[in-house]
Structures are given as structure tokens and as C-alpha cells.
Symmetry: C2
Subunit: 352 residues, 2 copies
DNA sequence: CTGTTAGCGCATTCAT
DNA sequence: ATGAATGCGCTAACAG
């Protein structure tokens, strides 16, 4: 099959040690042998076996990456960022997905660990209590959390301030004049981000002395979202604004509202979270909290590299987010009666 | 660090061979030792090293996956399908991206090969002539092409009938009454799909004796698309319909048209290719040729597994596509010249 | 049923 | 500057 280092040595008329040294540039090699080795390698199309190499060195050039799903552009984009940085660092990535399921998550991590990955980048269902994380820590494998907040004292993590930004977003919705604001969330059990964002929502509402509605938890990529939304808006006194824990959810919600004969933002304002590219291409554009997803992946990989190199730099836990207001978020039209004490009700939507 | 098979053997009071046999279930083991081994494994949290295992077996349980980009939901979705099937087959995937660059593509494949992947699933820039493919074939590594057509006689491939479906789509556009139809394409050099789809377009136009416009080649994820489109529609006698080689391109095009004061489909019809989920959520929904991207990935992985198992089944090269008409594709109403003037001022934000 | 032995492809002492 | 020998963790003959 594939040529080995011994084949190269034979053809070049030297020992495999010399070839190994050639490959790793560990010592100086005589010009003659150097040339013969180079030629032999070229002629045989030899590529050193990563696995032989890894076995010997006790470490690989691969890192494990675990994300909930690739279907969500947020994670796909972050993996792209990871990939870009990994490539420039000469590392490969083994990719696993958890499908938002803690059990699969644990199994996937165990599998990754079995591959002797030199490190891991993970977006967990729950960064605080995770069987997968226990596995990793007992194995002593370096890791960086991505989108999850840093767990306790240790371990670097790259995220955005989910709770704070959700609070800001909710405050903006309140400023626009909304008083009855609902929150559609991916199941908390499968996404701690979802929970944090809901917390930000409640904080803002409580500060404004407005009613906090219980979260409408839905399966992230399941089909129950439409039904939940439809029920919400066919009941009396529906909300004038709908916050969604992700942009994908927001898009699903908007499609459902359209089917119900409601227009966004004329009848209902909608805002999401994530800042996926396509949201900005819509008309009107989706109001959201934009995260630098690609950069976050890139930065997570960079951080992991630093860690692997023994340089424990302090992690900038939160990357900056950006509120994208306007678009699907506008002043409520039909709730003037309940917002008479709102002195900002006259703002125009594009001022947001 | 991590426990090895020898550690387990010592603790269980047997030889490492027995442990190995336990792990692989290759022979029957006495109930007593079996229990002791199981306990030892559990206590030490032992996971067999994929590396050592692979080195010995001369084959890995990993497959290499190369796609142009993860930012395009088409490929992200196909990787998700690959991943799902890989997991159920007990395989892991090493992911690489080419960024639509044949040089990176080749380098990535070389790297994948170095990891001793048992097989490869690839979406190449060009499935017909590819340095990467040469590398693979000379290494004798099994592979399945995905989105690329089968190359020559050998090698299975999973794709859709790009040319045929593009022809069908174009025919539908013609049927709707369009006579002047332009085609925006990702650079042919970076995507053979793009070229095939353009071919389908030309075939349909020629059959209808309509003018074939030269392709407007753009960088797939670059920023030149808007400029190209803007130029096209600010010249005299602009097309009434715009076909785009991908949905992403179509979305970019529509955003540009909006900025130009044109409405879709009232002023210009637009159709894409791929059937990304978000296209269907738009209002009006994006006309397109939908491919079963997730299934295609799943099927590609299944095919590779069959191949690795020695069962060379015949590959269903083309999976069924589906035309999604209507939405952004409508009957042409009037000349662009008049509509541009009429629409510049009065367009509503939710008109898309 | 189980232990012994021999590599897989490579990097790395230790010699020379 | 280069060879010979060793072993990484594991599986697969080959005994027993």
C-alpha cells in the first residue's frame, strides 16, 4: 500500500532514522543523502503516517470539536473559524455532533478522547454540569468551551454575554413601547444559552415592572414551534413582541405568524438571537443580537493552541456582541392603551 | 496519563491479550476474568486507544470529509448527514474545507491521507480533473464523491442531475413567459456544479431559440456579487428573470435588487439552486431546485461503508431533486425601465 | 480459555 | 552525520 519510512530509507540508501531526521529537521544531514531522501520521497509519493507518529509522540495533531448541530449556521460558522485557525496551526479536527442530547454528547466525547486528540473545543448542552466534561477533566485533556460560559474557576471559554445581551435586547423592546413580551426558548435542558437568554429577559422585565411570561420551551429543530406559537397568538391578549432564543426559532416564528395572517413588525415585533447572515438579508431584516460566530471559533482554537503550547494566557471570556435593532422590531401599534405611561412611544422604528 | 491495556491487564490479573479479546469480543472468556476485566476497565476509566488500534490493524475507523465550505448550509447539511450515518457505523470523521481553492483542496486531501483515513467523502472544485483525486487514486484510498458527478468509469458518486434540473428550472422560467433570462454563477473554476447548471440553462434557452447570455461569474462568498448584479440591472434592456447557481447567490441578488428599488417577483423573477431551508421561509419563498442535501451526505457515507466492507454495490448516482416554483418566480409584468421609476419611492419594507 | 510473541510506522535515545 | 535498537498501545497469530 502506502510507502513507509522504511521504503524511503531503502530507496535512498540510508537508515530510517535518517529519513525520520530529514522529515523532522531535527539534525543536519549531509547534502548528498538529503537530496537522495528528498528524491525518494517525491518518487514514492510518501507521506509520513500521522498515526505512527502520534503513537510514538504520545500526542496527536488533531483536536476534537463537538457542537450540537451543523444545521444551525451559528455552529457551522464557528466550526469554519475553528477549521481556519486549525489549518494554519497544522492541526486537523475530528468533528462530532451531539444533536443537543447530553447522552450522545458524552458518548461523542468518550470517542473523541479515544482518538487521543490533543485538545477539545466543545459547545455543550450545559457547561456547568456535564457528564462529558467530567470525562474530559478526569482524562486531563485540555479543552476550551465555546458558547458555554466558563465553568467555575478553570478552563477557558469563549462566549458572549448571553444574559447581559438578552437583557439589552429586551430593554430595547421595552423602550420601543412593548408591554406584553413573550419568550420562545429552545429547551433549557439542551441549551444553557437558552436559559441564560431567558434570564436576561426576565431581568429586564422585572426592572421595568412588566409581566414576566413563562418561557415557551420548544424543541430546537423540532416541528413543535409552529404549534406553540400558533396557540399563543390565537388566545386572547396575545403579546405584541416575541423574543426568540435563536434566529432560527425567530424565522420559524415569523413564518408561523405569516400563516396566521399577522404581519411583522406591524402586528407583532419579533427579535432573535445569534445574528445569522441570512437574517440581515431579509426584508425587513431580523432584529437580533449578533455574535461574531466565526471569530469565536477562530479564537477558541487559538486559545486551545496557546494552552497546548503551555502558554496559559488569560481568556477573554466574552467577545463583543452587537444589537441589531429595527427591522422586525418596531413600535407596537395596537397596545397604545396599555402603554400610555410610555414616554418613548413616539419613536420611529429605525431609530432603534 | 490515560490507562493502557496493560494497566487493565495488570489490575485484572491477566494478560493484555485477554483484555484485547474482551474488548473485541473475538473469543469466549471465562466468566471470572471477564468480570474482573470489566471491573478494572470501569475503575480506571479505560478507553482503548484508537491510535494503537489503527496502527496495528492498518486501518482506522475514521473517514475524511472534504467540503468547500461550512458556511454554505448545503454543505453543512450534507456533513450533518454524513456524521449521522458515520456515528451509527461507529466511525469518526476528520473534517477539512477547501475554501473552493484547488490548491488547498489538494493539500487538505494529502493531510487526510496522512491520517490513514479508511475512506474519503469529497466535494471537489472539479470532479473531473483534480490533483486531489489523483493523489487519492494513487494512494488507493476508497472514496465517494458528493455533489460532484462520478468521474469517468470508476468511483461512486452521490449527486443530483445538476444539468438536467437546471434545464427544467429554466424551462419553467421560459414557460412563465420570460424571454430575457440572465445567469449568475459561482466561478466555474471553483465549482463544477456551477458550470453544469449553466449548461442546463443554455440547453433550455437554445431549445426555445432564446438568447443565451454569458454567465456572470462571481466569487461564491465574495462581495462582488452585488456590484455585478447592480451593473446588470442599471444597463438598458435588463433581464426579466435572474437565475443563480446557488440559493445563497440568489439571496444576495435579491437583496441587491431591493436596494436598486426593484421588487421580486414583480419587477424581476429570481430563482436559485439548492433548496436551503431558509429559502422556503421567506415571503415570497425562493424558487429553486431543492436537493436532499442531508440525505445525500447520509447516502454517501452509507455507500462508502459498503465499499469498505467489500460490497461494491452500484451507486444511485443521482438522488431526486424537486422544483420549487412560484414565490420569487412569476410572470413578467412590464418593462424594467418603467417599474424602476415607479417603485423607487413607494416600496414598503415588507414587500419582499 | 489464556499467555507469549511479534510487529504496525515512527521518533528517539545511544552509539558510532 | 548516521545506524542500531527500543517502545508507543494495540491486535493477531501461535502455542499451550
Amino acid at each position: 500500500m502506502a510507502a513507509t519510512i522504511i521504503d524511503v530509507a531503502n530507496r535512498a540508501g540510508c537508515s530510517k532514522s535518517t529519513v525520520s531526521r530529514f522529515l523532522n529537521g531535527s539534525t543536519v544531514i549531509a547534502e548528498g543523502t538529503r537530496a537522495r531522501i528528498a528524491q525518494a520521497i517525491d518518487e514514492m509519493g510518501f507521506r509520513p503516517s500521522e498515526i505512527g507518529r502520534s503513537l510514538k509522540r504520545r500526542l496527536t495533531q488533531t483536536v476534537g470539536v463537538l457542537v450540537p448541530s451543523l444545521t444551525n449556521p451559528v455552529f457551522a460558522s464557528s466550526v469554519a473559524g475553528i477549521q481556519a485557525q486549525a489549518r494554519s496551526a497544522g492541526r486537523s479536527i475530528i468533528l462530532a455532533t451531539s444533536d443537543y442530547d447530553p447522552d450522545i454528547e458524552k458518548e461523542a466525547v468518550a470517542n473523541l478522547l479515544g482518538h487521543n486528540v490533543s485538545g477539545l473545543i466543545l459547545t455543550l448542552c450545559n457547561g456547568v454540569s456535564s457528564a462529558a466534561l467530567d470525562l474530559i477533566e478526569s482524562a486531563g485533556c485540555p479543552f476550551v468551551l465555546l458558547f458555554n460560559d466558563a465553568v467555575g474557576s478553570n478552563g477557558p471559554a469563549i462566549s458572549v454575554d448571553n444574559e447581559g445581551s438578552a437583557r439589552e435586547l429586551t430593554e430595547a423592546v421595552i423602550s420601543a413601547g412593548h408591554r406584553r413580551i413573550a419568550f420562545v426558548a429552545a429547551h433549557f435542558a439542551s441549551s444553557d444559552r437558552s436559559r441564560l437568554r431567558y434570564c436576561g429577559y426576565t431581568t429586564a422585565l422585572e426592572a421595568a415592572a412588566l409581566p414576566v411570561l413563562p418561557p415557551l420551551e420548544v424543541h430546537f429543530e423540532g416541528g413543535d414551534t409552529s404549534a406553540v406559537i400558533a396557540e399563543l397568538f390565537t388566545q386572547p391578549d396575545p403579546p405584541t413582541a416575541l423574543l426568540c432564543s435563536t434566529d432560527i426559532l425567530a424565522l420559524t416564528a415569523m413564518a408561523t405568524l405569516r400563516d396566521l395572517g399577522l404581519t411583522v413588525p406591524n402586528d407583532v415585533s419579533v427579535a432573535g438571537f445569534d445574528g445569522i447572515g441570512l437574517g440581515a438579508m431579509l426584508s425587513p431584516p431580523l432584529a437580533t443580537v449578533a455574535q461574531p460566530t466565526w471569530d469565536m471559533g477562530f479564537e477558541a482554537m487559538r486559545l486551545l493552541s496557546e494552552q497546548l503550547a503551555g502558554r496559559m494566557i488569560s481568556a477573554p471570556a466574552y467577545l463583543p456582541h452587537a444589537l441589531r435593532l429595527g427591522g422586525t422590531l418596531a413600535v407596537p401599534k395596537r397596545s397604545i392603551a396599555t402603554s400610555m405611561n410610555n414616554n418613548k412611544a413616539g419613536r420611529k422604528s429605525d431609530e432603534l
